[in-house]
């Protein structure tokens, strides 16, 4: 039995049957992490693996022996470096938050821990979740476990690397425009972006507040259902959280595909940048649905052409506003030239933020200034409304929307880092989901001839998590 290749739900079964202890599991992941760090191209998925995990595992084993039946007792998980865990560093992959220790836990991590789960460590990310490769992390990039010269994707690339690389059974990431689904696709994992409001954002460092949502990366569909069943639900600390009971997702059955109405957005299919191998694998996925009796039809959603532009107008405006709190006074790094507050702000932010964050703040402030940009922001909001309306219309006629997660497979480290627009276009197929606030699950549907994973995303209507997970479960069961 190779513990590091097992799924979160598989480990749960082994713990409950007494075949494994939590301590054995945690030690296996630590051993895998330490061994990997000695290789010439380590994954670098973790920024920090917690020493406290072994003691927590011992306590979990004692609790189980004493009759504790909590659903996630003794199961380890990793969390992205922008999700707070009380008493642990939380730096968002940035120099500006060096030394910052979270004074409270995010609701998502506190709910996992209340269910008995153990935080294993914090994972690498593009600085403040701004990027698609982890190359904008102040700690340096993570590597893709499938091919270590490639990016694991971003911004939750560290979370994907540790799960795919056998250093954690499940990891939390965050999404603003595809930051969970893209790494899931590049690393051959399942990656869920829930409906906006399904999970609380309390304790998650904000990037674009109207878009941000915590996501889950795992090796199986059941793992996502299990984690979601514990984390979802109304949180008084986040007014945008929805009053949901998703406890039924702890046990998933595959959906009946017969009669399922599946929409394929034709704008994505004729995209020039779509890798032909990905198009072929996507075609195979469509055939799988047809062969099981689904009604698969192409739909036209012209406004999707503007999704990337709309996303960056809104996300960067919100980012410029959210990141204004990092001023050297309240959090982390402080550079004080001794000339006054304004100089302190400028010195701290100039030294603490990396190039990509600076670029995005400048663009965000440009968009927010009507003096400079006219009604750019208003146009962005108008296009977002149209995307939301048109996607809503699709779900009036179809049960799910299916499309590739990314137009390309994982790209070589260094190949896009100096070309921000090319990097932004990595999110070509993902941002509309965040703009429309719908759920989407990236499912590993195949690999190219070179062995690189390809993900296909199953999108559902608002709060349609159960539907898309059950469809994915049916796919998973057929493999």
């Amino acid at each position: 039995m190779n513990i590091c290749e097992m799924s979160f739900s598989g480990l749960k079964a082994k713990l409950e049957s007494g075949e494994l202890t939590s301590l054995e599991i945690v030690r296996s992941y630590r051993a895998a992490y330490e061994a990997d760090n000695l290789t010439s191209k380590p994954l670098k998925g973790y920024i920090e693996m917690y020493d406290s995990a072994e003691e927590a595992a011992r306590l979990a084993d004692e609790a189980r022996a004493a009759g504790d039946k909590r659903p996630l007792l003794g199961l380890p998980f990793a969390a992205k470096d922008n999700i707070s865990i009380k008493g642990k560093s939380c730096t968002c992959g940035s120099r500006i938050l060096q030394g910052y220790v979270a004074p409270y836990s995010a609701t998502v991590t506190s709910r996992l821990m209340a269910a008995g789960a153990i935080p294993l460590g914090r994972t690498n990310m593009d600085e403040f979740a701004m990027g698609s490769s982890t190359e904008y992390s102040a700690y340096g990039p993570s590597r893709n476990p499938v091919n270590r010269d490639l990016t694991p994707g971003g911004s939750s690339g560290g979370s994907a690397a540790v799960v795919a690389g056998g250093q954690a059974p499940l990891a939390l990431g965050t999404e603003t425009g595809g930051s969970v689904r893209l790494p899931a696709s590049y690393c051959g994992l399942y990656g869920l972006k829930p409906t906006y409001g399904t999970l609380s954002r309390s304790g998650v460092v904000a990037f674009g507040s109207s878009l941000d949502q915590v996501g889950i990366l795992s090796r199986s569909v059941d793992d996502i259902g299990l984690a979601l069943s514990v984390m979802a639900g109304k949180d008084p600390l986040d007014d945008t959280s929805a009053d949901l009971d998703l406890s039924s997702l702890a046990r998933l059955e595959g959906a009946d595909i017969q009669g399922l109405r599946v929409a394929l957005p034709e704008e994505f299919m004729r995209e020039k940048g779509l890798d032909p191998e990905i198009a072929a694998i996507f075609g195979t996925a469509c055939d799988w649905f047809r062969s099981r009796g689904a009604i698969v039809e192409t739909v036209s959603i012209p406004v999707l052409e503007a999704a990337i532009g709309c996303y960056y107008v809104i996300a960067l405006s919100e980012a410029a506003s959210n990141l204004s709190r990092f001023d050297g006074i309240r959090y982390g790094l402080r550079k004080d030239p001794g000339e006054g507050y304004d100089e302190l702000y400028v010195a701290t932010r100039s030294d603490g933020f990396g190039a990509e964050v600076k670029r995005r703040i400048v663009i965000g402030n440009y968009v927010l200034s009507t003096h400079f940009s006219g009604d750019c922001y208003k146009k962005g909001m108008s296009v977002r409304a149209r995307i939301q309306r048109d996607i809503g219309d699709v779900f009036g006629k179809y049960d799910i929307l299916l499309c590739p997660t990314s137009p390309t497979v994982a790209f070589p480290l260094g190949s896009k880092v100096d070309d921000p627009l090319a990097m932004y276009l990595s999110d070509l197929y993902t941002t509309f989901v965040n703009l429309a606030r719908i759920p989407s699950l990236s499912v590993p549907m195949g690999a190219t001839k070179a062995g690189l994973p390809v993900g296909v995303q199953i999108c559902g209507p608002h709060f349609g998590e159960e539907r898309i997970l059950k469809v994915a479960k049916a796919w998973e069961a057929s493999r």
Binding site: D342, K358, V362, S369, S373, G374, V383, A385, R386
Partner: protein, 103 residues
């Protein structure tokens, strides 16, 4: 919009850096300005799809969205506030680090 977007000159860029509280010396302003111009130009695609609709009409409203009644409620006394917060120490509320002080 397109004409306006393309018009980020040196002075505008300096103003943007000031608004962002970033020092021109901390970055290669020529490269950064070029990248910002390129990305801002990309936003021109929005013109083809934007309309006059109110963006907020796209979101359904519920009773939870309604503002609370305009009723004046007496604030909690500090002693009562202290009873309901765990972030309390030595007679004071614990606060994030401010100018080297705090918890």
């Amino acid at each position: 919009m397109d004409e306006k977007l393309g018009g980020i000159d040196g002075t505008t860029f300096e103003n943007l850096l000031y608004l962002s509280r970033l020092s021109p010396e901390s970055t290669n302003t020529e490269i950064l300005a070029g990248q910002v111009r390129q990305i801002v130009d990309y936003f021109g695609v929005l013109t083809r799809f934007s309309g006059d609709e109110n963006p907020y009409d796209a979101y359904s409203t519920t009773t939870e969205d309604e503002l609370r009644d305009g009723e004046v409620i007496k604030a909690l006394e500090p002693t009562d506030l202290k009873k309901i917060t765990p972030e309390y120490m030595d007679g004071y509320f614990r606060v994030p680090k401010v100018l080297g002080g705090g918890a």
